[in-house]
Symmetry: D2
Amino acid sequence: MKSGEKLDVGEIYGINVLGKATYDSPLRLSKKRGDDIFNFVKEDDKILQDISLREFKKCLADNKEPFAMERAGPREKIYFNVKKTKAAIVTCGGLCPGINNVIRSLVMGLTYFYGVKEILGVRYGFEGLNPAYGHGFVDLTPAFVKDIHQFGGTILGSSRGGQDVGVMVDTLYENGVDLLFTIGGDGTLKGADAIGEEIKKRGVDISVIGIPKTIDNDVNLIDKTFGFETAYHVANPIIRDAHNEATGAYNGIAIVKLMGRDSGFIAASAAISMSVVNFVLVPEMHFELEGENGFLEVLKKRLDTKHHAVIVVAEGAGQNLFKKDKKEQETDASGNIKHGDIGLLLKTEIAEYFKKNDRQVTIKYIDPSYIIRSAPANPGDSIFCNGLAYHAVHGAMTGRTRFVVGRVNNRYVYLPISAVTNKRKKINMEGGFWYTVLESTGQPFEMR
Amino acid sequence: MKSGEKLDVGEIYGINVLGKATYDSPLRLSKKRGDDIFNFVKEDDKILQDISLREFKKCLADNKEPFAMERAGPREKIYFNVKKTKAAIVTCGGLCPGINNVIRSLVMGLTYFYGVKEILGVRYGFEGLNPAYGHGFVDLTPAFVKDIHQFGGTILGSSRGGQDVGVMVDTLYENGVDLLFTIGGDGTLKGADAIGEEIKKRGVDISVIGIPKTIDNDVNLIDKTFGFETAYHVANPIIRDAHNEATGAYNGIAIVKLMGRDSGFIAASAAISMSVVNFVLVPEMHFELEGENGFLEVLKKRLDTKHHAVIVVAEGAGQNLFKKDKKEQETDASGNIKHGDIGLLLKTEIAEYFKKNDRQVTIKYIDPSYIIRSAPANPGDSIFCNGLAYHAVHGAMTGRTRFVVGRVNNRYVYLPISAVTNKRKKINMEGGFWYTVLESTGQPFEMR
Amino acid sequence: MKSGEKLDVGEIYGINVLGKATYDSPLRLSKKRGDDIFNFVKEDDKILQDISLREFKKCLADNKEPFAMERAGPREKIYFNVKKTKAAIVTCGGLCPGINNVIRSLVMGLTYFYGVKEILGVRYGFEGLNPAYGHGFVDLTPAFVKDIHQFGGTILGSSRGGQDVGVMVDTLYENGVDLLFTIGGDGTLKGADAIGEEIKKRGVDISVIGIPKTIDNDVNLIDKTFGFETAYHVANPIIRDAHNEATGAYNGIAIVKLMGRDSGFIAASAAISMSVVNFVLVPEMHFELEGENGFLEVLKKRLDTKHHAVIVVAEGAGQNLFKKDKKEQETDASGNIKHGDIGLLLKTEIAEYFKKNDRQVTIKYIDPSYIIRSAPANPGDSIFCNGLAYHAVHGAMTGRTRFVVGRVNNRYVYLPISAVTNKRKKINMEGGFWYTVLESTGQPFEMR
Amino acid sequence: MKSGEKLDVGEIYGINVLGKATYDSPLRLSKKRGDDIFNFVKEDDKILQDISLREFKKCLADNKEPFAMERAGPREKIYFNVKKTKAAIVTCGGLCPGINNVIRSLVMGLTYFYGVKEILGVRYGFEGLNPAYGHGFVDLTPAFVKDIHQFGGTILGSSRGGQDVGVMVDTLYENGVDLLFTIGGDGTLKGADAIGEEIKKRGVDISVIGIPKTIDNDVNLIDKTFGFETAYHVANPIIRDAHNEATGAYNGIAIVKLMGRDSGFIAASAAISMSVVNFVLVPEMHFELEGENGFLEVLKKRLDTKHHAVIVVAEGAGQNLFKKDKKEQETDASGNIKHGDIGLLLKTEIAEYFKKNDRQVTIKYIDPSYIIRSAPANPGDSIFCNGLAYHAVHGAMTGRTRFVVGRVNNRYVYLPISAVTNKRKKINMEGGFWYTVLESTGQPFEMR
């Protein structure tokens, strides 16, 4: 590859900055190896996305630099004057394990790493940035957040949907906020990006940082989102006990519906974490109920041999089985399409089918969604939330804006918000993860 | 009190026996105090039911012997010849934590205490005693049941409803069963009593023992049923996290529906075990939704002050709020009346009410019933199941029949099946337990 | 029995009062049955201690009133003027699950039931009542204690040992304290009683209330102490996994040492809650290591048959195996005799014995004491702590002093401190509970 | 890079094979993309180890192919005739969560993926391959292993240390074993490699597969070993409650010793998963107790400000603090150097130091090692164990031998045993992970 040649990747993954970082970081880190002291991350420190030898050779052959992402971490120079920096934190959308951990670690990091003195807690999502709601702010201090990591939910409260971008930027500006940390899903991140865009237009110095929050783990490019691990950990004993329901009756069938609007990561992970599941149905797969190879026939064969079955279904699975016109218009306040209830549909269709086929079955339908999403973060997610928050703080102080912090190939990276919101991550039906699901459950590649 | 005077209690609580116990117990127990070896229980060892000083004085004044129940435990003389005794175990009705513990301890007790060599596991409830179903038996040995106490559900499977009593007795007789242990609820125990009646008619020597199983804890006279403690223990973190749902939104309301068809013990216990609950609604109370002192108005006041509320409702609560004619005919296979779904009704009515009253509320409805009933027994219930099973074994060997083992005033006792099935235990709305619920939640005595 | 005849029980269990209760209770309770509103408890409402029919008949024959205890609960008349009442709470001795629950419910009860405005949290046990330590007080409000029930430990801190009684009473008096709630074990309760005695001498109006705290569950007369249930619940999976250690090696032996200085309730309960234990050794039993029927020989037989063994030992067991002169003098700051470490002794002796007997064994020694005592209260104990605290509040307001609240025969009662501190509760080696332990483990009645 | 040029990596990571794989795989997988069916993994499918852009550029500049590892997964051609293949599984060394999960998934995979009919379970580690011990084999079938994933420990039993390689190969050969799966740590893997070497010498057709088991997570090159995640998850609440011990006394100090002989991954991960820890001491760091910047002085400053401290220490930390000559000779049966007990040393030194410095402190020392290693696998490890076992089965069938399956950069790979046993993985004291530990605890970079 010739030096100086233009690369694809730089443009795609280039992160916006408010301006040149000129202050010395207050962190007493090192700039050399071998002294047992962590080094400031250099600006050219990047992580490859595709890590196959094949891609390496392809780039070599094509004379193309591979896609790479900025490694997250503290920089030697920062943009904000720590003596005057003021931060705000907002949490939006549905609950997800770990939100309080992120809030706590943002507060601890801002306070103890950089000496930030004032951090506003925004109440009830973007509503809290609209004075019309009168929610007010909470003063977030280390003493206030000390124990919150042991609780699920969000101490700030949340809400769905957006607010007027101009109003929100007014609020930020009027309250002297320099850094806005937004913890939320796809819609929230798009909203944060819009706020960043408006800030840019106005030429003010406010950095907008996103910490992706989706229990479904469907954020493009990044390994996993916080809360996802806790989700399938909480689902694990529920599946174990659903198996008790299935075996507790002759031809017992337990259906467990788990979260997963567009992606089946929770359903699939929960199922392979508790090896009693016989069928996993996810949004990424196309299956039919009827027909010789359809799901109901496959289920019948299972029951005739084993006399019980456990089915784990993601909420967004099997949407082809609903009549289009019915669901078309409905969306929730976050703009998500409201799905037909696949759990209830399965329950009904299975009951009818076996009635028709003269087999007495006992069906138990279990929907633990609220139980899962409101749980406290498990130890793995607790570590992860700490890491996300600390890296978000470091990134924010450099003047980067409209970026998210995430984990790719096991490393923390910074990515532009737009890079992760342009499409959703899905299970690759031809990939190793899904194949493990099939190996574990024994279900066929296709049911249609 | 004059000696020889006829007492009320003897007749009510007299337990049927197959005949005189003539064999020496194989247990090497003691008959004297002070040797650090457990003594055989004597036939006149009885426990008072009402333990107030007031009742004592009343009996004294009335010259009446107080109600007392047979203390459970091994007797010096037994009825069955242990060399030839054969037992069977059947589990009926819905799942409940601890069934496998009871099965395991019955098997261990029969085998190791009395040397019983053969124990049949009846499959899928009373169906398994009807050869028409072709379910067959499982051979229950210590090796087979060794680890089952660590799992929820029932390894034998269960079913609802009865079978022809004559057919079942035929099956027992033809298979040489001497002892039938029935683990089940109200309907099952009545069925067991009917089997005992038929056995008596036929003059055969089969003892029928009941181990009351109802997660609702609504068995008359006895302190608690197995599985109940686990039930509210499993519900506890679910309520903790429901609180996260309630506080996570402005005017957030979380409704948790728990088991409790006729009695609210699970709902009330779960609520006072996790002090975040604001309202507990149980079948024993009469409440109205509408009106100045109705539930909706009380809830509104709560929201206007605190902006969130957690409601725990037993499934059988508020049945007065449903139109009578609708629910009248519906019963399940066990003969239980199908209740109107109070959880969904509350959700709907609350939503409508606040819409009418111009308050934006967010309602989360959580129904963890299957998650609770299929869980493994907790340590407390594990101890309890061991105790019930061991005492059932000892009672069975004496030739007692048509009796249950239970715990009254913290002691194990034997009671005739009929004594516990003639009515259901309910929370006393004027008692100390319910008052503790009110103290903990702060809800008013009356909402109507 | 002739009326007016002097009874034994009245003197033993009579509770001291500061004076006649003259204020109307602010609680809006009822005085009649049938209105679904809890009734004030009447002064003659008492609970029998011995509830056997045999005792009933014996009292009848002896013309003796049975032992009975005051039923706990709110009274119609109270002693303190709620507008001016000030309370203090102190926690002493070792940690125990549930302390924070008791603190929280005391604060909630005092505040919301009776409108008490000021509650002092005493820091670090009785040290906090000695100004020389300079610990100061914490202001206990509902907002401050709202979430503490979800944490183990004590938010007030604790310490062992007493302080000068005069100094402590001075502190109470100077700070205007009317009610002193002491949460602690045997030594603490005796200290509280001494404080009460000094208060009486001085003729001041301070009520001293004890809430017995001993994880060992060895308080005389009362069913159970708070924290005990949690203790064996936390020990349960530890024993389950100790079994994995035992079976994981050829002739594997796992020794789990649990709390129980003078009484083996935790060890015994934990063992029967997880049916994998082969030997339970408690302080109440006398066993020898050596000899034909000694423990080591019995253990050898077990290993030769099954090739693994799980032993649960209470810390106070087998003290006869230590040389007297060594342990005689040592006591801890609470005045408890320091025991020889039976766990380590067993480990050493077993190793030596099997070495001598040419058997290779693998011994794993597990001591989870701190893990257990610092855990948060489980749901059962949470309910119990609420109940204890609420009843303590009601009792305190009546002017009763130098009393404890406890549970006897499943009812909350008030007892004089002296009644529960004069001796310790122990497992009855001839009773049903210990027999269940033997039934569950299969260990012999005697090993000596 | 010129084609055909010799690469470093090929030799290092080349995996031994028994011979050319000639049988068609019985798996019905795909060879093309886009059909929603998993594709056989191709032999040139490899994963980069260093995934930084910098390394990419360096390889480019140096004309060097980067280090890459074989992607694990099913191949189109296999070496063994599935109709006659016989497998054996052996588990060695200390317990670790997940062993039973691996056993179960090996059995399921061999049976259901490839139709292997006979699988021998080797009892008690390598001892079981030495007939002199007389341990015999267990017949591993799907029915036998069905539920074992829910239990900790190893159903096969284990032992430490090796056996004569010739004898073990004799046993394998005489029993017709084709595939030997060894689950164990460093010593076990070296033993497995020696077995493989001996097999090669003899020219027999037995494949030896390693599944690295070390709870310490210190296997060279690979992301994580199974059981490690469970380890810090189980440690998490223990640390939470150790904090209760620390705050429960004035100047309370809780010391929690966790596993980590040469690497501090468990201690560090547990500490950042529960943000109450003030000091983490690991083997990779050099710290001193004495001196102005020594640990004791730093601890004193902490206590003087906050009056409590939580210390998490890995068992192998601070070995410089022990006198060399004492520990030199001692090793355990696995050949591991026996460490001085740093936990007890800290306890003693801290006590002495504060006594000298006139501060009353209360020290609680907690060692939960056996509780952690014998726990059942958590959901994350359960998934991981499934993945490892399935990929081990696929690799084994291809005739690869003397290899391990592991996870590198989030992908399953195959590596020669020798590649992972030549050195141990340690925490990089200058890396991001350790920096997060410092950020979370606030402890200084250096304490010496």
